[in-house]
């Protein structure tokens, strides 16, 4: 069967110790049995490793941070689209999703298809709204408190037992064992991600995750549960293994059915010794360990592209449990000219 030629733009090529999902998304797309892909890499920084990985992207363009303004970002995307004419855009950062979701119609009018959650789906799963979310959709969540200022830190003692988790709105999470540590973490998190800072009850157990894809109609197109086997000091999985856990799949399917979730997602759960599951976070995008799901039998990026193109996709029901991924770091030797080109021209 001949493959359909398609051009896809992908962000998140920062394969660092806090890896973006761009590189594994591209690897997954290159393994598609249905598409022959041409990849346009979109980068914010000139040192994102994906720029320098041979054979990964066909063209690379630098784009402005969403903080510079949504219009600037979308103008640049449209400008790149006029030159390279890509069919689908897959954004991979939490912080940029808002801009792309807000401009979904504008992008579509320009001929750029996306497959993102709706604004309502995106906003209601915000970390600072997790208790309401848990109650609405019938999922256990840890108790939490949103801190708008340092003065509220004293309220923690009344509501929680130490330790507690101190979390940023988008990223970062620290365990704090006393008020002093909460203050330190509060300053670190608020200076980087703003307010509120979220204080979350510490739930003891094993961290498990599910990568999933919803079709926007309530159907779960793909879902693979995973346990982190090796966690970095940034809390990122450096090794993981797929699980055969019906309860995790049931939680995922129930959530996607109720919310009619559209797009990729990652559920972060804590499984307690009693076998209870607490939802601690929903990432509204494909996570960086997506290639494990592909290895286990579910090519989620390929399915997402098909959904973005308006094609019917049958739910993927099976995967191999006990498949592992082990991440590694690798030094690429780069000629200065390549760095110079991206730094000076904003493209390669």
């Amino acid at each position: 069967m001949s493959k359909t030629k398609i051009t896809i733009a992908v962000t998140g090529l920062n394969n660092t110790d806090n890896p973006g999902p761009g590189v594994p998304v591209i690897r997954s797309l290159k393994e598609s049995t249905e598409f022959e892909v041409r990849i346009i890499g979109l980068v914010y920084e000139t040192l994102e490793p994906g720029i320098y990985m041979e054979g990964l992207c066909d063209k690379i363009f630098q784009i402005p941070y969403p903080s510079a303004g949504s219009d600037e970002l979308i103008d640049r995307i449209e400008e790149i689209h006029q030159r390279e004419s890509f069919d689908v855009l897959i954004p991979n950062f939490d912080a940029e999703l808002f801009s792309f979701m807000k401009n979904e119609d504008r992008l579509l009018r320009s001929g750029i298809r996306t497959f993102l959650p709706t604004m309502k789906q995106f906003q209601e799963r915000d970390k600072d709204k997790l208790p309401e979310y848990g109650e609405k959709y019938g999922i256990k969540v840890p108790a939490s408190l949103n801190l708008g200022s340092q003065n509220q830190i004293s309220e923690i003692k009344e509501k929680f037992e130490y330790p507690v988790m101190v979390k940023g709105k988008f990223y970062d999470a620290y365990t704090a064992y006393n008020t002093e540590q909460v203050k330190q973490s509060f300053n670190k998190v608020s200076s980087k991600w703003g307010l509120p800072v979220i204080i979350q009850e510490f739930v003891k157990g094993t961290e498990v995750n599910v990568i999933a894809l919803g079709d926007g109609q309530g159907n779960t197109i793909a879902a693979v549960p995973m346990r982190k086997q090796y966690i970095t000091d940034k809390g990122k999985a450096w090794g993981g293994i797929t699980l055969s856990d019906d309860k995790m799949l049931e939680i995922t399917r129930s959530l996607i059915r109720q919310t009619k979730w559209k797009g990729g997602m990652e559920l972060e759960l804590i499984k307690t010794v009693k076998g209870e599951y607490y939802l601690i976070e929903i990432n509204p995008r494909i996570p960086a360990w997506v290639y494990l799901a592909v290895g286990a039998g579910q090519n989620i990026p390929e399915a997402l592209v098909k959904l973005a193109l308006g094609q019917e996709v049958a739910p993927m029901e099976t995967y191999q449990s006990g498949k592992m991924f082990v991440r590694y770091s690798y030094d690429i030797i780069v000629d200065l000219e390549k760095f110079e080109t991206i730094a000076m021209n904003g493209e390669i």
Binding site: T206, V208, M226, R227, Q229, I241, T242, L243, S244, D245, S321, G322
Partner: protein, 87 residues
């Protein structure tokens, strides 16, 4: 007591629980016991097989068997309707 169906037992003694992601190793005797339990043999059958095969008395077998059962229970690879039922 049953070994849950998510558990995979390799011939070299590597035991993997695909529901929890846990894995551990058992020695050849542990492997033999695990396989016999997985095959659905009850306590008396396993005891008779062991007494016939090894130089072992009843009490030592029982003590070691229950200790082993506690260990595999700890690794969550077994299911028991009655916590005192090892048959």
């Amino acid at each position: 007591m049953k070994i849950t169906e998510e558990v995979r037992i390799s011939d070299n003694g590597f035991v993997f629980n695909s529901r929890t992601g846990d894995s551990f190793n058992v020695n050849p005797t542990g492997l033999e016991l695990t396989k016999l339990i997985a095959q659905g043999h009850d306590f008396d059958t396993i005891k008779n097989m062991f007494l016939e095969k090894y130089d072992l008395d009843d009490l030592t077998f029982e003590k070691d068997f229950y200790e082993f059962c506690a260990l595999i229970k700890h690794h969550q690879i077994t299911s028991q309707e009655d916590p005192l039922d090892f048959k």
